[in-house]
């Protein structure tokens, strides 16, 4: 059976008797999601949708499980999303796009298309400068690693100097460590000691 409102298969079937008149509705999951939630606050709207609670003056509602495949990225199903209120992984957005879109539209004042900031790397990729962006990132990472390594060595030497009570050397090493352009976290009171990565 087709959905009353679109070309999808109807998976939600609802029969209401209002003033003695029987009203039947056959809807797809997405269209059903849109029923009975207009005017609710955002919070209500989401929980209502996600837990599939009937609206006030509950109507009998028969819900069939949607035949939507689980997300290939994380194995999450749309039902699980509705229970959790959270998606399983970024790939869920693609996997559940048809079901999610009407929900997203409602949550965001009708918007379904992002406007605003785009990550630099993705913007570069779009502009065909992918390699440039990737190289920059790799360089940055290499630099950091180098500094981290250098710091580890210095730190080890410092520990040894302190243990050997070579205070002059220790002071020099401390200065050097300060010069390595990297921040080591001071341990706040009460935060347990942990070794540096």
């Amino acid at each position: 059976m087709k959905c009353d409102r679109c070309d999808n298969d109807a998976t939600v079937h609802e029969v209401t008797v209002r003033n003695g008149v029987k009203v039947e509705k056959h809807l797809c999951e997405a269209c059903a999601a849109g029923e009975g939630i207009a005017g609710a606050s955002l919070g209500e709207l989401l929980t209502k949708f996600m837990t599939q609670e009937a609206e006030v003056g509950a109507k009998p509602k028969q819900v069939h499980k949607p035949r939507v495949a689980a997300c290939p990225g994380c194995g999450f199903t749309f039902d699980q999303f509705r229970q959790a209120g959270l998606l399983g992984c970024p790939a869920c957005y693609k996997a559940f796009e048809t079901l999610l879109t009407p929900l997203i539209e409602r949550a965001h004042e009708g918007a379904t298309q992002h406007a605003g900031k785009v990550p630099k790397r993705i913007a570069a990729r779009a502009a065909g400068r992918e390699e440039e962006a990737a190289t920059e990132a790799a360089l940055a990472r290499a630099q950091i690693r180098e500094r981290q390594e250098r710091l580890k060595v210095l730190q080890r030497q410092l520990d040894e100097a302190v243990r050997g009570e070579q205070y002059e050397l220790a002071a020099r090493l401390r200065d050097q460590i300060r010069k390595v352009d990297i921040t080591i976290i001071p341990k706040p009171k009460g935060v347990q000691e942990r070794s540096e990565p």
Binding site: Q80, I104, T112, K187
Partner: protein, 379 residues
Amino acid sequence: MVNRPDNPAPPPGGQPDPAAGFAVTEWLSDSGGSSDVVISSRVRLARNLAGHPFVHKATRDEREAVLQTCRDWILSTKISDRIMWVDLHESPAIERNLLVERHLISKQHAKGKPAPTAGTPVAAAEEPRGVAISIPDERLSIMVNEEDHLRVQMIRAGLALDTCLEAASAIDDKIEAGLDYAFSPKFGYLTACPTNVGTGMRMSVMLHLPALKITGDIDKVKRAATDMNLAVRGFFGEGSDAVGDLYQISNQTTLGKPEGAVLTDLQDAIIPEVVQYERVARRNLMSKRRVALEDQVYRALGCLRHARMIGADEAMQLLSLVRLGVVLGLIDEVNAKAASLLWLLVQPAHLQRVVGRELDQEHRRIERATLIRDRLRGT
């Protein structure tokens, strides 16, 4: 700076406040634009790493891996001159509560109990999670493994959403230079909850609205805000009451509108209007109900100066009136900064930190009253 055992690091905080023996967080410094009404501005960006399950769906190992990756990159990429990292799953509850009270992490992040998810084993309470905080200013905090992998937050005193957005965006760029974000051209930054998808940006302003509370017009503000798709919350965000007449107004929707447009709406239109509304209400109270107002303000001051036991909420409410009195020039022997700082210091974790030991409920009430009396002593 290098931490040595003989050089204990200061507790999170800015300049030590000698009177409290405790550091002062910057956003409560009573400075910045419209500080008679606007306490602080905050911008938060939600980000996730591509190719990783969202936090609630991730196994402990996956969470650990994300934490490790983010921590290493954040600590090494020179995000701020000095960064403090706290492994929350390994730190005592009082430390975490301190961070919550300073608005550097969410309650949820302190508790560490992720929303239960069907089909996922119920996670242990202490899942790997952390926060990076810029010190000593505490303007920047980056929560790792909260609801999203990363939540970058910038907070400043007064009305300064533009500065917050600019700074948060710059940090975001630095993080992105080393980590691959989950992003789709259609839905924008992909977040665990579809209500944050798009810019992933939540902008909020904390307002002190005692006069609108007294006149009852606060309900009109709330209704108007709701009509404009803005959320109005209390001092501690979601689900908290507006204790101390403190209200947070923030955007609800994150998709379809660029960051700059949300900024302009809030900073140049909506917030100044609320600020103006509060100022007019204050002026009206002064001209039309002066004695009644003075009575409330001086009673509040008197109560704070003489109480021997007091709860946090009651203290916040009375401090609100004292701050109002200071701003209106009714009280001149206390400054507004002292009053707003006390908002923070009367909170349980701060109080215990100032006193220097754990306190039960009754002793908290006693020590709180003592602390307030000390700080509001007449000259």
